[in-house]
Subunit: 457 residues, 2 copies
């Protein structure tokens, strides 16, 4: 009996060890294919340089849908289709202008951009005294008396000491998102928000904000960190200085748009679905190469890698290029609602929306027993520089799947040090992406999708 | 007795755990100082943009010596001094020119640059039929009959599937270093070498080569990988095509130059020395920001970090900015010879010469028992993204210390994916360096230097 147990244990161990060896060879095959014949970099070149910034509802967003659907069709997966969704159509209008108007020290032009979703200023611009705050609580302390009729300047710094820059971002972005309405609550006539970046640079960073319908919608903009420092220093010298800015952005009626979806059906459990992807739309300030062109071309590359290496997934793998992550997440919501309506069985959703930098790991958002399965594969990724599986989280586009259907989530975690140098600025261009880093990220996603497609979760 | 043992064990454990906690706080202090008040990026800006490429013997190399010595003096360590060494003085001369001259298909201009140390071609250039080879062995197989009078074209690819690009480099660079003399052995009149980069790009990559005095010194150059592909494809169509190139580089008499050295003396064991640094010289093609401006400013930053945080090292820490790593390692040799002459006790030498990218770990080259001490600290570095201590090696500048005095070596291992996009090309510029990545690398070196200065090896 003892020897039978030993034999069975030996068998089990041998099988596990054998399958890990096989998986390790398959991962190597995937990575080699990506590094030797990868197409994600040339696809990103097209998406960034021939199509450019792809704000929801724009002609560029429509072009990106067509381009990516055709690319996917050329890879001959089992299905490629478009999933309709209505998206907000916000336009920036003319280039924004802004000045610090000192009571004695003259006029200084500064660099701003409208926050996505903001209303315009009056045609002649808006001008008022400035009250600087560092968090939403300070607004309450100042109250209507301190704020009414003024421009609120949110100037809390993005903490550079957080190693993950996303943690620094998370610690500062409430000013941008909720600041305008919270200031409006106390009678502010406009807001200016310090850009979301840890360093002192010359570019304002746009990004979305949300109005609370209970308060008047006031214009809001982002100011470059260098000019935020200037404004703050100027205010210390000249408390009655005024800030003037002008922007002509507006919200047009919703537009019809699409998620782009491609699927290779599972050979053994086609009903079990693994979704992975990034978002097709981007801000209009740069060409959207890193946010999130890289996630888009990596998802397309995963399909290509399966086809080129001849891997037949046992479970269904589905690349989804989501529309409208930046200012509405309408694509993500539509995708999840449809999945629920069809009663689809999604076993995993995995997003890439942190840039195409060298991959360092994956985050997870799932029950412990499922996470244990993922962690069991950790060593398979170590040879490719992915060692960190500690973060918790998925991504905005797949969050609705979790909310509606409790789908386990993952996100690719690339090195984050450079992301907020370029995020939502004119610096988010193709030239800031490294071919090898991008390819390694795509291969890492393909490897994870392969393992889940093979063994389930 | 048992309880005494238990008590002593408890005490030991508590002390170890306490010291790791203290060390973890000190490392955090170092990293925060670097990320909040780091000066390495601004120093690199000056070194790259105000001084520029710093080939040994050039006026820029001399300026870099003065600039860095002054910078170090401003930090007020215990000593700053220059260590004289004679260096080769090779100059590139006029911009190189090259053409593929087809027998029927016309003339195509291609991009080359002289390899560092090469002799010039005749003033009118050199022109001959081309024989393509992929390794030094093929030369032997072709023999004098196949090679004499021809230009040898070394075209073995830098393997993109190696995850560490330094491994790919190591697998290809023999063609560049030894190729010219090995070809000359069989009567070749010149060589052309495929550039050392995994991708297909438009820039030739220079780099050093070494002549074997037993054979005639023939001109040698590097060709961009795109043009290497073109030349190879053209040769398949037109075996008798000729290659023409012209370069006017030459070797002038040796120049006097310097290593720059700064030291904070140890408070308890001043005789135990920890050397760390990078190299001051660079190739002339770019501004040498990544090779090795980053290593230089990181070494200076380590001194600043100790001073700014008030850490008093128990052992002596010494920043060394080595001269002439690229084409002679004369600075490194001089430093080691002097250390031996003075009978100095070097407990560690640590180099940073792989670019200022996000740090991922350290390599080591030391006996197992010393490596065990380093590995004991591994977890202290994990919060900063350094997880990989598996590589073996030090760096060219500190290698002589190992050879002469058996000094344990380490090297900072940053992410390697982007390095060979820019290595030894006009693309090696300040704009390719990320502030945070650079700062994290400097802080990681400071952390390791702190631990060794505290506990020895």
């Amino acid at each position: 009996m003892k020897s039978l147990t030993a034999f069975l244990l030996f068998l089990l161990f041998s099988c596990c060890s054998f399958s890990q060896q096989t998986d390790s060879l398959i991962l190597k095959k995937i990575v080699n294919e990506a590094l030797l014949h990868g197409e994600s970099y040339q696809n990103l070149d097209y998406l960034s340089n021939k199509i450019g910034g792809r704000l929801s509802g724009s002609p560029q967003a429509a072009k990106a849908v067509t381009y990516c659907a055709n690319l996917l069709r050329s890879l001959k997966p089992d299905t490629v289709y478009l999933q309709e969704c209505m998206v907000p159509h916000w336009v920036r209008g003319e280039k924004e202008k802004a000045k610090i108007v000192g009571t004695t020290s003259g006029i200084h032009e500064v660099k701003i951009c409208a926050l996505g979703g903001s209303v315009a200023t009056p045609a002649a611009g808006i001008k008022a005294e400035v009250v600087e705050v560092h968090n939403l609580k300070e607004l309450e302390q100042l109250g209507t008396k301190g704020i009414a009729g003024k421009i609120v300047f949110f100037n809390r710094r993005f903490d550079p000491t957080k190693l993950s820059t996303f943690e620094g971002y998370g610690g500062a972005v409430d000013q941008r998102w909720a600041g305008p309405s919270e200031a409006s609550r106390f009678g502010a006539i406009a807001t200016v928000c310090r850009s979301m970046t840890p360093d002192i640079t010359d570019f304002p960073h746009t990004g979305s904000m949300g109005y609370n319908d209970s308060f008047p919608k006031i214009p809001c903009c982002a100011i470059s960190t260098r000019d935020a420092e200037l404004l703050s220093a100027s205010l210390k010298q000249d408390t009655h200085l005024k800030f003037w800015y002008k922007q002509s952005c507006k919200l047009l009626p919703d537009e019809k748009s699409y998620n782009v979806i491609a699927e290779i059906r599972g050979s053994e459990h086609p009903e079990e679905i693994i979704t992975f992807g990034g978002h097709l739309d981007s801000w209009d300030t740069g060409d959207g190469a890193s946010d999130d062109g890289t996630g888009v071309v990596q998802a397309i590359e995963v399909i290509r890698l399966f086809q080129a290496t001849g891997i037949k997934p046992k479970r269904t793998i589905r690349a989804v290029l989501f529309m409208n992550e930046e200012n509405g997440t309408r694509g993500g919501k539509k995708y999840a609602a449809t999945a629920k309506e069809k009663n689809e069985h999604h076993i995993l959703a995995l997003e890439s929306d942190r840039g195409g930098f060298s991959p360092r790991g994956f985050s997870t958002d799932m029950p412990e027993e499922k996470k244990a399965v993922i962690l069991h594969w950790k060593n398979l990724f170590l040879p490719y520089g992915l060692y960190d599986f500690t973060e918790t989280g998925g991504g905005s586009d797949i969050e609705p799947l979790h909310k509606l259907m409790n789908v386990p989530l993952m996100e690719l975690i690339p090195d984050s040090q450079r992301y907020f140098d370029i995020h939502h600025t004119p610096q988010d261009t193709f030239s800031r992406v490294s071919k090898r880093e991008l390819e390694l990220g795509g291969a890492a996603i393909a490897g994870m999708v392969y393992l889940v497609s093979q063994y389930g979760l």
